[in-house]
């Protein structure tokens, strides 16, 4: 069995992360590495939840319902009672918003339909019995209503293992599904994921607060990507503005959204900003943006 972990390479402030692999050599017994999973919803419009269990177990554990952009992270020892599950069964359920005409940030309660619009299920997904990854990523991409595209373990050695399976015959080795499986037809949505802060301050270069600056939030999305095919670009980006606020007298602003990937943009008639937009992985509590008067 090969053991690897994600190694997010360094010296690249600009890119979010560059991924390579570093061999893990476990020393000191047969204890497994304590691993975790991250379920991310990079759909622009649909809400998503994941059911997960160790293959052979009876019960599924369910993540909260994730809004666009949201991520749910959990350690396998906490959710499945094992450090590194050998094989996994997964179910992904996608739900449509009821008030889809409203920006999410103005949609109190963010109600979704009572039943999923698309579901997918995988049994016996190879995991730690094949390759150990420190964090197993399961990412729901943006896809047309009624369909799902889910990318698993991207950027890890497990990705190529999965890519050889018939279930992952998508050009980007993703898992695709459509419609609703019979046994999941009436599966209700879970509660929404709890919110976390995306908060920060806008200050002048000498540290003084700058008030009444507009701050806008977008969610990250991901669609089919194939960099050999320029017609696919952009394959990732940030959606329509979902919430907006202004800085207070102390230069502070804050949004409450589930943990995830977002873009924060600053705007003002009087100032320019360094930087004018920040891509964040929330929760974040200490964003700091420099405001400079427009000459």
């Amino acid at each position: 069995m090969t053991r690897f972990r994600l190694f997010f390479a360094l010296l690249s402030f600009a890119g979010f992360v560059a991924i390579g692999c570093v061999e893990i050599v476990p020393v000191g017994g047969d204890n497994p590495i304590e691993t975790s999973f991250a379920f991310t919803n990079f759909s622009r419009t649909q809400y998503a939840q994941l059911a997960i269990r160790r293959s052979g177990d009876d019960a599924f554990a369910m993540t909260p319902l994730l809004a666009p952009g949201a991520t749910h992270r959990e350690r396998f020892p906490d959710v499945l009672g094992v450090s590194c599950p050998g094989r996994l069964d997964l179910r992904v359920l996608l739900f449509e918003r009821i008030h889809s005409d409203l920006p999410i940030g103005e949609d109190a309660g963010e109600a979704v339909a009572d039943a999923p619009i698309a579901t997918g299920a995988i049994l016996n997904l190879p995991a730690c019995d094949t390759v150990v990854v420190e964090t197993l990523t399961i990412v729901n991409w943006d896809a047309p209503a009624g369909t799902g595209v889910v990318k698993i373990a991207q950027g890890t050695p497990l990705e190529s293992v999965l890519g050889a399976l018939p279930t992952f015959d998508h050009p980007d080795s993703a898992w695709t599904f459509d419609g609703v499986k019979d046994e999941l037809t009436n599966m209700p949505p879970e509660a929404l994921a709890r919110v976390e802060p995306i908060a920060g301050r806008v200050v002048s270069a000498n540290g003084n607060a700058v008030s009444n600056v507009g701050v806008l939030l977008r969610t990250r999305f991901r669609v089919r990507f194939n960099d050999d095919d320029p017609s696919n670009d952009p394959d990732a980006g940030f959606g329509e503005p979902m919430a907006v606020t202004t800085t207070d007298d102390a230069g502070r602003f804050s949004f409450d959204r589930p943990a995830g990937a977002y873009r924060v943009e600053l705007f003002s008639d009087d100032f320019q900003f360094r930087p004018a937009m920040i891509d964040v992985e929330s929760p974040v509590t200490a964003l700091v943006v420099i405001a400079e008067p427009i000459p």
Partner: protein, 382 residues
């Protein structure tokens, strides 16, 4: 049985204080590190010096508020860790103390449970050399653990510009002016971030000129850019392999406990030690290799504060862990999000050519809150 590959932080220091024990030694059978804690050989708590072979030994169940005296040394011994059986998982020990080799150290147990001794050898030590001279005894007197660790944070002049985050090859006058203009803001925000990270811990962050009583450790933000030696892996890392930018494959050191090569202070035995963050190491050289750090105050604050927190973690004895958290070796730059001091299995990184070889001790867990509760006098105990 398979050889246990030892961990190492950069240039290994030579263990001192060897052969300080009695000539009346007995031999503990080989435990080469592959055995689980459950199978660890027991050491009597009788103060008799013994020759221990391998990594792990059981000290048996020890009541809370007991005082242990442990001596461990040997030519190849680097550090000794005290573990307590993990309440969360079988065959796993949680780090509750430690000391450098050659020290006779006293520990106050905080909770009742089976305890273990883990001996960490110098890098490259193979099985025949994995022997330690060990004695363990229970003392009648209790000891007073320190209640706090004060860490003074120093920002050297020009920490952002000399060269700091200024690229001396292609950096512009405008870049310098901008960095100059935000220096005090960066300093204030980094301090605030460090205070936030260590809130609810026994670690107090104070400013350079703060008046404090008692021993103080120091964390310095230096403007230097420090290139790493081939074998130096103290919080050093290579940028991602990129065949289009071979000139950017420069190994640098982001920070370290001083003197260089110390790695960390197990058990926080030295409350007046120093660490440094090399701010200049976060900037590449030349247009191709430059980072965008100079355009984002948020990147600067997050990176410098989390690197500083990482080094403070080492100052009080925390190891690198495999899992994502402040003490992950690649945490500082790689994860552009706010991290915490997370539970994890201790990890050692060893240079292997141009790659980094990660070695994990799955049986040894670092739970920062448990560790800090054990080495500092806190209110909670059973």
């Amino acid at each position: 049985m398979t050889t246990c590959r030892k961990n190492r932080y950069g240039v290994g220091i030579v263990a001192v204080g060897v052969t300080l024990l009695s000539l009346l030694t007995s031999c503990i059978p080989l435990n080469d590190g592959r055995d689980t804690l459950a199978a660890a050989i027991a050491i009597p708590l009788d103060g008799v010096a013994r020759n221990m072979v391998g990594n792990l030994a059981s000290l048996g169940v020890i009541e809370s508020d007991s005082t242990l005296q442990i001596s461990a040394g040997g030519t190849n011994v680097r550090r000794v860790l005290l573990l307590r059986a993990d309440a969360e998982r079988e065959s796993t020990g949680v780090m509750v103390g430690g000391a450098m080799a050659g020290m006779t150290s006293v520990y106050q147990t905080v909770r009742t449970g089976e305890h273990f001794l883990f001996v960490e050898y110098n890098a490259g030590t193979t099985v025949p050399g994995q022997t330690a001279d060990v004695s363990v005894s229970l003392l009648n007197d209790s000891i007073e653990r320190p209640s706090r660790q004060i860490v003074r944070v120093v920002f050297e002049d020009g920490f952002l510009t000399d060269p700091g985050l200024l690229d001396p090859v292609d950096g512009t006058a405008a870049d310098r002016a901008f960095l100059d203009s935000i220096e005090s803001t960066v300093r204030d925000e980094v301090l605030a971030s460090l205070r936030n990270l260590f809130d609810q811990t026994p670690i107090d962050i104070v400013e350079t000129d703060a008046s404090v009583a008692g021993p103080v450790s120091t964390l310095t933000f230096s403007p230097k850019r420090v290139l790493a030696d081939q074998n130096d892996i103290n919080d050093a890392a290579l940028p991602p392999a990129d065949p289009n930018r071979p000139q950017c494959q420069v190994r640098v050191v982001f920070g370290e406990v001083l003197p260089s090569g110390t790695g960390l202070d197990p058990g926080n035995r030295n409350p007046q030690d120093d660490a440094v963050v090399y701010v200049g190491s976060f900037q590449g050289r030349g247009e191709t290799c430059r980072t965008s750090a100079v355009t984002s105050l948020r990147s600067m604050v997050l990176t410098l504060s989390q690197t500083g927190a990482h080094e403070i973690g080492h100052l009080v004895g925390l190891h690198h862990i495999e899992q994502v958290g402040i003490m992950n070796r690649s945490a500082t730059l790689a994860f552009q999000r706010e991290l915490s001091f997370a539970r994890g299995q201790i990890q050692v990184d060893r240079a292997a050519g141009n790659n980094i070889r990660s070695e994990v001790f799955p049986a040894i867990v670092q739970e920062p809150s448990t560790y800090l509760e054990s080495i500092f006098a806190t209110e909670s105990s059973d």
